[in-house]
Amino acid sequence: MGQLVERTAGVGAGLATEDMILNIGPQHPSTHGVLRLRLVLDGERIVSAEPIVGYMHRGAEKLFEVRDYRQIIMLANRHDWLSAFCNELGVVLAAERMLGMELPVRASWARTMLAELNRVLNHLMFLGSYPLELGAITPIFYAFREREDLQKVMEEISGGRMHFMFNRVGGLKDDLPAGWLDRARRTIHAVRGRLADIENLIHGNEIFRARTEGVGVLTTEQIAAYGLSGPIARAGGVDFDLRRDEPYLAYGELGDVLRVVTRKAGDCFSRFDCLLEQTRVSLDLAEACADRLAALPQGPINLRLPKVLKVPEGETYAWTENPLGINGYYLVSRGEKTPWRLKLRSASFNNIQVLGELLPGHLVADMVAILGSMFFVVGDIDK
């Protein structure tokens, strides 16, 4: 809070008004964690906004430098705790590329499937939490029902519910349990069917529409200038998705299932809408992967690694389309057990930078709508 200033009001030219400084966070219900926004308010209108990040800085990049590649996987799945699997993926893709490994076919399909299931998990979280921030308390429970069912599937294969730790350089940790594919497919069906509940509950709701349509419009220029990515960028008409534009894993062969969901408006509603539609696409993709996995011949799901894994000298940049946007790892190796440098480009960090430009002119209530629709994870911002 700003200092208390004694003022004499209304001498001559009308009533003196004063801007109020409002700190949203670091502990505030709508920042899901410890993001802090320093707002200057004129009444309820925001004059300027400054995101202050770093409350959850854990020095991930520095820690990467003193961990071997298996240990890095464990650390990497923690910066964005809602997309753990996709985070691991970037690390192992980078290491595999440097090692020149050829991934077993089954591993590639299984990874694609798990990455898509992880994307659904992530999107469901935001499909539930966004209405919650706007005051609708029920959708999050519907979203969590689906999340629980999907997490059960993920737990059965990986043993974890959030931090899956299932990728290894050269494949996956374990093979699929018997019958898992069928159970996964059944769950995908059920989740797809019940998504209608969330949609009926909130998607067409007039109040929800009024709160989100035309609010927080991101122009294509802003998206490009700030390097926004993921559903936020696509909702603003930027048709860019690494899964299609620079296919990794098995995405190259999923061209007929993979639809890149774009919207034109760039407002909060189109971001939500984009997320909802992407969830459906991801379910389709996961199902296609399951079908493919069932049809594949017997084969390994990982490669045998040397006792001490050393990545040859060199550098590479591996980026993946994470649920929240582009997640990239720039790996520099000097031939050691540990990377010399592993730079992390996280989606949320870039995505929230635009808030300083986006928020001014909006109301405090809109701030909540915009903040929620930016779909960020604080760990992903602060790393």
Partner: protein, 240 residues
């Protein structure tokens, strides 16, 4: 950042067919005002009449899959104090103490042997990140995951569990799951298969040679091939 946006714009011409616009443009078709609210109210009302999805936890324990990473259990007898787990742990939460013991030389001759005896094996679960690397590296399967999860404490210090407690948890370790039919056969099966295949081909080769040898003299002996083929199959079973 520039790179991404450059690529994104370069991609434009290619994106035509692959990118799909939404089937329903949100603002073009508008329902009657208030329909959205009614739909929402109907959804919650419908849900209200259905059974709850949650369960009453302590009364109804959750069903956890065998791979669940609940707690790390230790089979003390298998541990050789090789320290691999403690060294590979990303946050060094495994504490191991040991001493060497010398076994006297057996009476029939030979030399005396030293072996490591485990004094302390403790895992600090307040630090543990549940990554499972220790279990992965253990060469003698002394560490395993157990789905047991009810070991919360009021004090964080109490989460440091010694080998007795870890040994107790080992009783709760489930059997490993069966794998997908797409998975490669286990090592032992694959090896046995290899041996069997080798013998089969050798047998076949021998048969061909035998046929070629005795083909002119004894071509009218069909019953010979029967016992001849069963031999190697039995041998393969014995190997397995």
């Amino acid at each position: 950042m520039t790179t991404e946006s450059e690529q994104q714009s370069e991609q434009q011409p290619q994106t035509g067919p692959a990118s799909s616009d939404p089937q329903r443009e949100p603002r073009a078709s508008r329902d009657f005002p208030g329909m959205g609210l009614v739909k929402g109210l109907a959804t919650t009302f419908k849900t209200m009449t259905k059974h709850a999805h949650t369960v009453q936890y302590p009364d109804q324990p959750p069903e956890l899959p065998p791979r669940t990473r609940g707690v790390i259990a230790l089979l003390e007898e298998n541990c050789t104090v090789c320290m691999l787990c403690a060294r590979e742990c990303p946050d060094w939460c495994i504490y191991i103490d040991s001493h060497k013991e010398t076994a006297p030389a057996p009476p029939g001759g030979g030399r005396e042997r030293t072996r490591n005896v485990l004094d302390r094996f403790a895992i600090d679960f307040s630090l543990c990140m549940y990554c499972g690397i220790c279990i992965e590296v253990c060469p003698f399967d002394a560490l395993e995951w157990s789905p047991e999860f009810e070991y919360a404490e009021f004090d964080i210090k109490e989460l440091l569990h010694e080998k007795d407690r870890l040994r107790e948890w080992f009783w709760t370790v489930p059997a490993p799951v069966a794998l997908d039919p797409g998975a490669p056969d286990p090592k032992e099966m694959a090896q046995a298969q290899k041996v069997a295949d080798k013998r089969l081909t050798a047998q076949k080769a021998a048969e061909i040679v035998a046929l070629a040898d005795g083909g002119a003299a004894a071509s009218g002996q069909p019953e010979r091939s029967g016992p001849g083929r069963s031999g190697p199959a039995g041998g393969a079973e014995g190997d397995g």
